[in-house]
């Protein structure tokens, strides 16, 4: 087979309030991943292939409109534009259409949208501790900490938990930022490090991000806003790609790069939990560990991160397992796309393989842990019925069409699943 060199995508952030430019073709890129913003609120994204540009402002507007309409409706109107929860095989009550008069009389929807969002009050008890757990990635951490200096609302504190470091490089980086607290956690494991951070922190809300992330200046403020409903115990946000320079980054972005509804808010509640309980509640849809926050009190009520899960242990799913507990206890989790972080996906394909292995191992371990805690049989159904069915279909597909794109990591993932079962029983 002829190997064509990979051409990257350009990530372009377009602020609509500053006018719509002409989009010129750039031969270095395969295309543009265009994220559309309105007064620093992300409204949608689209891909434009280089061969289909240049696009004049009018042509670009035409392409942008369908991508942003639903998210605008979601924020402006009570009904009709809500994203539906990721419920399969079960039924939740449907959103009903908006009032005709409200829709017709709407004027300058975008202006109204930003005004409306500014009116959401942040709750009184909402001081924030930001926790970043890191291990031997001082350079990336430095970028991350720098982006945190640009936050419009500064948090109460920023904690860096240095997890089983092999040198004091991380400590030296943190020393450059006087406002940032350094904590050492010699025992390896992301969940262990996070728990150390939680115990050392003082904020009413605890926000987590990763060292390979740069945060948006409004990040903290939008997370805080997300807690305006007292039933909400966890808020997650949108994770956008900081760059799409390599094939691995593109595959990650298209495949596991985040939830599909993306630009519309979602509230995961008990109704969702009960509907999906027989099939195994897909708590991982709530968000990503690189962009999440919790009320401090929730840790007192349902405990900390499960230290068998997460990087350095099972691989991942420590976040989704915590969301699972929150939902199982009847509280809500909110996904708020206005809280944005920019993630540097791993560049190398080998990392993608490793990551896929870790993901599936962690996922399977989490299913078993969730079952052990609550005896919700749906977890086992997912593990022993849904997953085998899913992978046999993909495997069949890959045997015909080849192990390309999504299926590149297929075998690794399957091994990851088996490894997860072994891991659970070895650490029970």
């Amino acid at each position: 087979m002829k190997a064509t060199p990979f051409r990257p995508y350009k990530v372009l952030n377009l602020e609509l309030s500053e006018g719509i430019p002409e989009l010129l073709p750039d031969g270095r890129y395969q295309g543009i991943f265009l994220v559309v913003w309105w007064h620093r609120i992300p409204l949608g994204a689209l891909e434009i292939l280089t061969q289909n540009s240049p696009l004049s402002p009018a042509q670009l507007t035409q392409q942008i409109l369908p991508a942003i309409t639903l998210p605008v409706g979601d924020r402006l109107l009570e009904h009709g534009f809500k994203a539906s929860l990721p419920v399969t095989k079960a039924q939740l009550p449907q959103d009903f259409p908006p009032a005709y008069s409200a829709l017709i009389s709407l004027q300058n929807p975008l202006q109204k949208l930003s005004q409306q969002l500014e009116q959401i009050q942040i709750p009184p008890q909402s001081s924030v501790s930001v926790i970043i757990c890191t291990r031997d990635r001082p350079e990336q951490l430095q970028h991350c900490l720098r982006s945190l200096q640009n936050l419009h609302h500064q948090p109460t504190e920023i904690l860096v938990v240095d997890n089983a470091p092999s040198s004091d490089a991380t400590k030296n980086v943190v020393a450059q930022f006087p406002a940032v607290r350094y904590l050492l956690e010699p025992q390896p494991g992301l969940s262990i490090a996070r728990n150390t951070g939680i115990q050392a922190s003082v904020g009413d809300l605890i926000a987590f991000t990763d060292d390979d992330v740069e945060v948006h200046p409004d990040w903290i403020f939008r997370l805080q806003q997300g807690f305006h409903d007292p039933r909400v115990m966890a808020v997650t946000g949108l994770m956008l790609p900081a760059e799409l320079d390599s094939e691995a980054q593109l595959i990650f972005h298209r495949g596991v790069g985040g939830p599909g509804w993306k630009y519309r808010a979602l509230v995961f509640d008990s109704e969702f939990f009960e509907a999906m309980k027989p099939f195994g509640v897909p708590a991982w849809f709530v968000g990503a560990g690189a962009n999440m926050a919790f009320r401090r009190e929730v840790f007192n009520k349902i405990g900390l991160f499960d230290e068998r899960l997460g990087a350095g242990a099972s691989g991942c799913s420590e976040d989704s397992e915590l969301w699972y507990r929150i939902l199982a206890e009847g509280w809500h989790c909110r996904y708020e796309p206005a809280a944005v972080v920019f993630h540097y996906h791993r560049k190398e394909l080998e990392h993608l393989q490793e990551q896929s292995f870790q993901y599936m191992r962690g996922h399977v371990t989490a299913l078993l842990i969730q079952f052990a805690k609550y005896h919700h049989w749906g977890n086992l159904r997912r593990l022993f019925v849904a997953l085998p069915r899913y992978y046999s279909r993909l495997l069949w597909n890959a045997l015909i069409k080849g192990f390309k794109g999504r299926n590149m990591t297929l075998i690794t993932e399957i091994f990851g699943c088996f490894s997860g079962i072994g891991f659970y029983f070895s650490r029970r």
Binding site: L16, G19, I20, E47, L49, Q51, N52, S56, P57, A58, Q59, T61, Q62, L65, P66, I68, T69, L70, V72, G73, L76, L77, G80, F81, P97, P98, A99, Y100, S101, L103, I104, L106, Q107, N108, P109, L110, Q111
Partner: protein
């Protein structure tokens, strides 16, 4: 069956509508500040009263996203409007022995041609009379000083279209079939499409029903008619997500309402006269020219405000014949492209496979009563496709050669 077609302006209070005896349904063309944004149709029993509440419920159900999108467009638009001066345009109407249709078509068109202030008319009109059997069309046009007339003796729609290319000197050339009536914003729609895409070589527009007074017309419209949606689309070299692009040329629009840059038509050698032969029914000539425009790496733009109303065949038999000729014309186009465009052969093979699979699916659904088209119509299209696939293009080329000899 008769559906009443009603235009609704959503920014004004909705009307209360009552179906008169003999009417069995409503079709609505919805506009927002004059712009066409949606088309809805549904059958009701005679005497049904449709009050504003029911109507508004229906509208939000089906068009909430579009309504909001138009709202956002309005807010964003001031920042992007261009002010290029529109090039010269000729509107060519190709007709054969249907003077009443031509009369109706011209009346609506002449309203738009009215010069604004002291400026000259915004476009010229040319009627191409194709192998007429009498002089009624000629007499009709003679009575209208603003309309030019030319006769094309060789019978065939694409002979007539090519004649129009020869007879005009304007930068743009728009084609209308005689059985359409232009919307009041038709010309503005074309201007808008051109201003947003001054580099495009071809423009197609929305086609809605002129009337829905017979079963055959309602049937055709329920199957989707000529509608291609209410979103502007700019077609270029590729279309992400459509593996048959650009071979599945039916997506681009319909030949009864299309416009081109004249130099591009000349450069491409005009329309293929071996398509659209034999009858006045459309059959592949439009698909072929759209396809060649795209393959020559020009852009084609679909603009819903560039709107006409088409009088569908009233009689069931004529509709069946039209289905047949679509199948025929489509396959003739595919076979022709297969020979002239070797690079696209695998995709064209795929397209043939897809088409028959799709029609088979339609036939199955139709036999189960789940498709608006009855089996006889679906079968007519399939049969047309089979005839088209097996040598029709070659036979047609011979016929065209014969015609050329006859008239040289």
């Amino acid at each position: 069956m008769t559906y009443r077609i009603v235009e609704i302006e959503v920014t004004e209070p909705l009307p209360k509508l009552v179906l008169k005896s003999g009417e069995t349904g409503f079709a609505f063309l919805l506009r927002r500040k004059g712009r066409a944004i949606g088309f809805l149709m549904r059958s009701y029993s005679e005497g049904t009263i449709l009050c504003p509440d029911m109507l508004s419920e229906w509208i939000v159900q089906d068009l909430k996203t579009k309504l909001l999108q138009e709202n956002i467009r309005e807010e964003l638009l001031p920042s992007v409007q261009g002010h290029l001066s529109f090039p010269s345009l000729t509107v060519a109407i190709c007709t054969k022995d249907r003077p009443d249709n031509v009369d109706r078509c011209l009346k609506a068109l002449l309203k738009l041609q009215q010069p604004r202030g002291d400026r000259p008319p915004q476009f010229q009109i040319l009627v191409v009379d194709n192998a007429p059997s009498n002089d009624r069309t000629q007499n009709l046009v003679a009575s209208l000083s603003q309309v030019c007339y030319v006769q094309e003796p060789k019978p065939g729609l694409d002979f007539a279209r090519n004649r129009a290319i020869q007879e005009t000197k304007t930068e743009l050339l728009a084609f209308l079939d005689d059985d359409v009536v232009v919307d009041r914003h038709w010309f503005d729609g074309l201007v808008e499409a051109w201003q947003e895409n001054p580099d495009a070589a071809a423009f197609t527009g929305l086609v809605l029903p002129y009337e829905l007074v017979t079963d055959a017309q309602i049937l055709f419209e329920r199957r989707g008619g000529f509608r291609r949606g209410f979103e502007k689309i700019r077609y270029g070299k590729t279309l992400p997500g459509n593996p048959l692009y650009p071979c599945g040329a039916g997506i681009f629009g319909a030949g009864c309402n299309m416009a081109f840059r004249r130099d591009v038509l000349l450069h491409l050698g005009g329309f293929d006269e071996a398509l659209d032969t034999g009858s006045p029914l459309p059959g592949g000539g439009d698909l072929d020219i759209f396809y060649r425009v795209i393959r020559a790496e020009y852009s084609l733009v679909y603009e819903p405000q560039y709107l006409v109303f088409h009088e569908h065949r009233r009689e069931y038999d004529k509709l069946r014949r039209q289905y047949w000729s679509w199948g025929l014309g489509f396959m003739a186009f595919v076979v022709k492209s297969y020979h002239t465009d070797p690079l696209q052969r695998s995709r064209l093979r795929w397209l043939i496979k897809w088409w028959f699979k799709y029609q088979y699916h339609n036939l199955k659904q139709s036999l189960r009563g789940r498709n608006p088209s009855p089996p006889a119509l679906v079968w007519a299209e399939i049969w047309g496709g089979i005839v088209g696939l097996f040598g029709e293009y070659g036979r047609s080329q011979k016929r065209v050669e014969q015609i050329r000899k006859q008239f040289s």
